[in-house]
Amino acid sequence: MTSEPKKVDRRKFIYAGLGAVALIAIGAAAYVAMNPPVVTQTVTTSTTVPTTSIVTTTTATTVTTSAPTSELRLTYWQNDTRPGDRAGAYAVINEFEKENPNIKIDVEFVPWEVAQQKFLAAVEAKQLPDTHQGWGLASVPNANYRVEFDDYVNEWRKEHPGEIFDICWRILDLQDPVGFYLPDEKEHHFFGMPWFAGYEPVLWVNMKIFRENGLSEADIPETWDELVQVAIKCTKPPEYWGFEFIGAGIGQPWWMIRYQLQRWGCDFVKEVEKGKYKVAFDNQDGLEALKAYFDLALKYKVTPPSMVSDTYKEVANMFATGRVAMVTGIGPWNLLTWINALGDDLYIAPAPKGPKGAPIPFVQTCPIIAYNTEKVLKNKDKVFKWLSFWSTRKGQELWFSAPGCGLPVSQPYFKQLAEDEKVGKWYKAFYDGFMNAKEMSPRLPGVLTLFSDPNTMGYVQAVLTGKMTVEEFQKTLAKMIADQLREAGALAE
């Protein structure tokens, strides 16, 4: 055949190609087989965020986990997976393993994006981790799988008085890391140890923009009306705007709206009797609160037009790049980034109050918890050692050295930060907030899907884009909440 030579050529080449692929595959398989996963954890001084952390930074250490002997291996899932979080986790794990040579921790970093799915899949397959970062999965029944450590915790508290903020204990006591009340919740039990905290009703100010518009520290608004006036002064589109709130994202926009309702003495719901709620914003006050909120964008135009799809991260970046003068509802999570970006122009103050109330401060406390796996149930002593390590002074310093996220739950350590020369002025505001948080924010019934339903975010955006009026927004929301309460048998008649 005339095409004979070509055929042979192609064939040879293709065989060679496939052969090479096969060889590579086999080679890789052999390599993997001969080298079982060696977990090398290098903790370096924080290079991703320039060091303004005042804590003595940990030097580079490497720990190689070797083949198990007669030791206890615990799995630990962490959902905060940024380089700082990972470094912090490794710092804690390394030190803990040094102090407890017969306990080894297998850490898995499960990014928030897949945390929920992964957890549910684990539940279905009965493959829960032994320990887990204890929050953020508000809509998932991890309640049923937690293990109680009451005796251990109470003893620890007796042995370490004044070590942890009182308010944090109270929150954990009520199983309330993010402010939800679950009807069949096990109150007054401890399922884990406090790890870090968050606090969001603060007002962040970019003093540079203030100065450019003839304002100073004395002009930092304390009431909502003042906020509006200051924001108007500080709006110079498209260079910068006076204010931004979170317009997109799951959950976050709704916390901001809640604080707004509280400024007018309302709330999403109010508990009438134990376990029974009524809708508490479908009245004139609620309407005024919502109108004032949306007027910032619709009437006064002091917010950037990108707000409608700016999630928490974009708002944080808008503030960091000096495009927004004031933000609220953003917690301490970006503190060090902002210190680097704005330096001494970064100011913090309590969130402004409204005509009939003020945002009720809420100290979110994230615990580290354990699930009812066989290993945990058989080794509660050792598991508690691991859990409580995070709450000790050393554990706290290690987590925040890298830096891990959040605020310390250790009161003495936090005090030290608040009195530090360099970073004290920001930490002090938080510290004072913690110390003064006497009133517990009223808890919301867990049946509300508002904070976890990506489809409800559309309502806020509909108002911002003019497709829904504020009245309709109020009505739709009220109806949705009432329906959910009724379905769960929690509606007060």
Partner: protein, 297 residues
């Protein structure tokens, strides 16, 4: 050795060849399929008090028909798929025609157009989200701040009217290389002699294109379009990462809605039903394809 007669062996040979394929497909997919279908008949909700499972028959499907958001998302999906595929195909065709010519630097361009195909969808759409941010992103910085081509910063993904086209644009960037490569191959297989003969007969460029090029790629084009439609009907990642369905519900397409329902609201039953509801749409497209494919023979 074999007990079978030659005739019998001949009869089952075709099926024997298909055996490995079907074995793998069925073994791997059968459990999820059954699980998914049964779930869609249930009200399977993950709540605080545990997993609530109620058998409710086809109620989920009835709920779907009353769900305004779902109907809207379905419309969005249809518009999104058809527009995306049309644009991807056209651009791919133009690129393929260009690359079909012989010129220096062809290899370079051929590699460059592969870049969007090779970039992971997640990374690409997340990056575009940043690039298209009206104030933090590069695109407006160039268009508005530096070149003053627009009178004000465009709100690409922030305004309902612009978000949808922008999403289609990102989809275009990501998807056209596939069409370009496939069409290019098809074009390259057209014998040069046909064009020569046509030139001799006096046909001009457009006539050559219309009577030689176009018919040669008709079949592959139809196939690519159908496949593209199906992929866009089911694809979640791009829209989910780029806009999450927003702003408002402007870019919400059915697969994203189903994903939200199933994995964020944790109503697996409802989400599953949604998936199965969309299925007949893609099914008709597949039947169309096989009918076409086998008609050719």
């Amino acid at each position: 050795m074999p007990m079978m007669s030659v005739a019998n062996l001949k009869k089952i040979t075709p099926y024997l060849f298909l055996l490995p394929t079907f074995t793998v497909l069925i073994l791997v997919n059968i459990y999820p399929l059954i699980w998914g279908f049964i779930i869609s008949l249930q009200e399977y909700k993950v709540t605080f008090s545990g997993i609530v499972v109620n058998y409710i028959g086809f109620n989920n499907y009835l709920l779907l028909l009353n769900d305004n958001l779902f109907i809207q998302s379905l419309l969005n999906t249809i518009i999104y798929s058809f527009t995306s595929v049309a644009l991807q195909f056209l651009l791919g065709l133009m690129v393929a025609l260009s690359l079909n010519e012989n010129f220096r630097g062809r290899t370079f361009f051929r590699t460059v157009i592969l870049i969007p195909w090779v970039m992971p969808t997640v990374a690409a759409s997340y990056l575009f989200k940043w690039l298209f941010h009206p104030f933090l992103g590069m695109i407006n910085d160039i268009l508005y701040t530096k070149l003053h081509l627009t009178s004000e910063p465009l709100l690409w993904l922030n305004v309902a009217e612009l978000a949808f086209p922008t999403a289609i644009l990102v989809n275009l960037w990501k998807g056209f290389p596939f069409y370009a490569v496939m069409l290019l191959a098809s074009l390259q297989s057209i014998p040069e002699s046909l064009y020569e003969a046509a030139k001799i007969d006096g046909a001009d460029r457009f006539q050559r294109f219309r009577y030689i090029t176009l018919p040669s790629i008709t079949f592959i084009s139809m196939v690519l379009i159908i496949l593209g439609l199906v992929w866009n009907f089911n694809g979640v990642t791009l829209i989910y990462t780029l806009t999450g369905g927003g702003p408002g519900y402007a870019t919400l397409i059915s697969p994203v809605y189903a994903y939200n329902i199933a994995f964020t609201n944790l109503h697996y039953g409802y989400g599953s039903a949604m998936g199965w509801f969309i299925f007949p749409f893609t099914l008709t497209l597949i039947f169309l394809y096989t009918w076409l494919m086998l008609k050719k023979e």
